[in-house]
């Protein structure tokens, strides 16, 4: 589903964010990208959704080399991916329902699809009763659930999560991880960047460890260390 071949990403002239990274993530896998801040986890995610382009190497998503893809195709690539962030990136002037609907609205989905899909996904993340609240009226964990609902409402092939539990307490994090696991069970490939030891150790999934832009470990059913 996702394949990197000798990918190197350099910011500016000498800041090497990722050096010669290669891995292959099959469909429906759950993968943790771990490592300290600045080790290149986020850059890897940004390479996969083509917010960044590598200086060397190729990134393949669903059988396509996305670096050779014309810019006009990038929106369609992104429609096959959901993104979840540490800071949720919710629109504060929109309700829970509107935030999730927004993701469908801006890719031109008709109204009847929106009004059918949004309640289903809000039910999945456990926020069916809070769809008319605004983000400020929700807890951090609830906001992250909204953001996951928004990422998943279009049934993407891939879910990219960048430190989704970074702002949350352990109990809330557990709930979020349960949700991501559930989404993974539906066949969605999940790639999650994190430096949260507990969730990695509790989940026992594939772990790709980075250190200063280099992959130093790639282990099935791994722990954080």
């Amino acid at each position: 589903m996702i394949r990197l071949e000798n990918v190197t990403k350099i910011y500016g002239t000498e800041t090497v964010a990722v050096r010669d990274a290669s891995f292959d993530i099959p469909k429906s896998q759950f993968v943790f990208l771990v490592g300290p801040s600045g080790s290149g986890k986020s850059t890897l995610l940004r390479l996969i959704n083509r917010q960044e382009q590598p200086e060397r190497g190729d990134v393949w998503v669903a059988g396509r080399n996305i670096n050779e893809m014309p810019a006009s195709r990038v929106p369609h690539l992104r429609r096959s991916m959901g993104n979840v962030f540490q800071d949720y990136k919710l629109l504060l002037n929109k309700t829970v329902f509107e935030n999730v609907a927004f993701a469908l609205e801006v890719i031109g989905k008709p109204r009847h699809v929106i009004s059918r899909q949004v309640p289903i996904v809000l039910d999945l993340v456990g926020l069916a009763d809070k769809q008319d609240r605004f983000p400020n009226q929700l807890s951090g964990g609830e906001q992250q659930r909204v953001s996951i609902a928004r990422a998943f409402v279009n049934r993407p092939l891939i879910l990219l999560a960048d430190e989704p539990t970074g702002n949350l307490d352990p109990t809330t994090s557990e709930g979020i991880m349960g949700l991501l696991d559930e989404i993974n069970q539906t066949g969605t490939t999940v790639v999650m960047a994190t430096h949260d030891h507990r969730v990695v150790n509790a989940m026992r999934r594939r772990v790709i460890q980075l250190d200063r832009g280099v992959i130093v470990r790639d282990q099935e059913r791994g722990v954080y260390e």
Binding site: N49, K89, L91, E105, V106, R150, N154
Partner: protein
């Protein structure tokens, strides 16, 4: 498709409301610059009227000193009639002091000071000359000849009057054109800035839209519509202003006595209408250009 159009219109309106002050500034600037563009068109057209009206009837006026003797006047008349191939002798007319004073009263109706300097005794009399020839150089060479005749005070050529008017109209054209071009650029800049601000205010939305796979055009169109609308509204305002100005001028001009030329400085309604359409079109282009630059340049927020 319908939902996309509805989305674009809703977003445009929202953004319009949110940035009311900046929007008002952009709209007003484009309105003022377009008003100037429109005025340029009208002034040009009005001056053309004046020139066209006189061109069909080229005239030379030979002014004779008020103290000239009857013999001197007779000599001038004789010399003028000596060139029947150049001068239309049948249309040659002599205005005596009374007639000349009557004419002057009309010409200087709006200028009592100048009129006060003239009396029926001191006013020059005049021969009104209609040339047969269309060749202005021929008429001019004749005028040089008439100037040397005894008793002749001056010879005025309509051509010289035209030159004054066309120099004046050229000057006005250049000044208004440059000013309105500068103002149009300012309008583009202001619309650009308004759109940029609107996009900056909504950078979170734009970021999310890009991440969930909205196309650049989908993101851009509400902003471009907003700019287009600002330019168009500016155009509508300028049309209103132009109409008011033109109406005031057209009705004000009737208080000028005929013969001064001012009363011919009016434009037909059909011309005003086409100028208004031009203004709307320029307004739309200004808005589209300003917002297109902004929307392309600042999409990577």
């Amino acid at each position: 498709m319908f939902s996309r159009i509805a989305y674009a219109l809703r977003e445009t309106w929202e953004s319009f409301r949110r940035n009311l002050t900046l929007t008002a500034a952009a709209v007003l600037t484009s309105a003022v610059s377009l008003l100037l563009v429109g005025s340029t068109f009208l002034i040009q057209r009005a001056f053309e009227n004046l020139l066209v009206q006189w061109r069909g009837d080229v005239e030379m006026i030979v002014f004779v000193r008020s103290d000239a003797s009857a013999e001197q006047i007779a000599l001038v008349d004789q010399v003028l009639r000596a060139s029947p191939t150049i001068i239309d002798v049948d249309k040659l007319r002599y205005l005596n002091k009374t007639e000349s004073y009557e004419e002057a009263k009309r010409i200087f109706a709006g200028d009592p000071v100048t009129l006060g300097l003239l009396t029926p005794e001191t006013i020059p009399t005049q021969f009104k000359v209609v040339p047969l020839s269309d060749d202005p150089t021929l008429v001019r060479s004749l005028s040089d000849q008439y100037r040397t005749l005894p008793g002749v005070e001056a010879v005025a050529l309509a051509e010289d009057e035209f030159e004054v008017i066309s120099t004046l109209s050229n000057f006005i054209r250049v000044v208004t054109l440059i000013t309105s071009l500068v103002l149009l650029l300012v309008a583009v800049g202001l619309i650009w800035n308004t759109i940029r601000t609107a996009m900056f205010a909504r950078r979170r939305e734009i970021e999310v839209m890009k991440l969930v796979g909205a196309t650049n055009w989908f993101i851009r169109i509400p902003f471009m519509l907003e700019g287009l609308l600002q330019g168009l509204i500016g155009g509508v305002v300028s049309c209103g202003g132009l109409w008011v100005l033109n109406s005031a001028w057209t009705s004000g001009v009737t208080s000028f006595k005929p013969g001064t030329g001012i009363s011919s400085l009016v434009v037909p309604d059909s011309y005003l209408t086409s100028v208004m359409f031009i203004l709307l079109a320029i307004g739309a282009v200004v808005g589209a250009v300003g917002s297109a630059i902004a929307a392309t340049r600042f999409l990577d927020v």
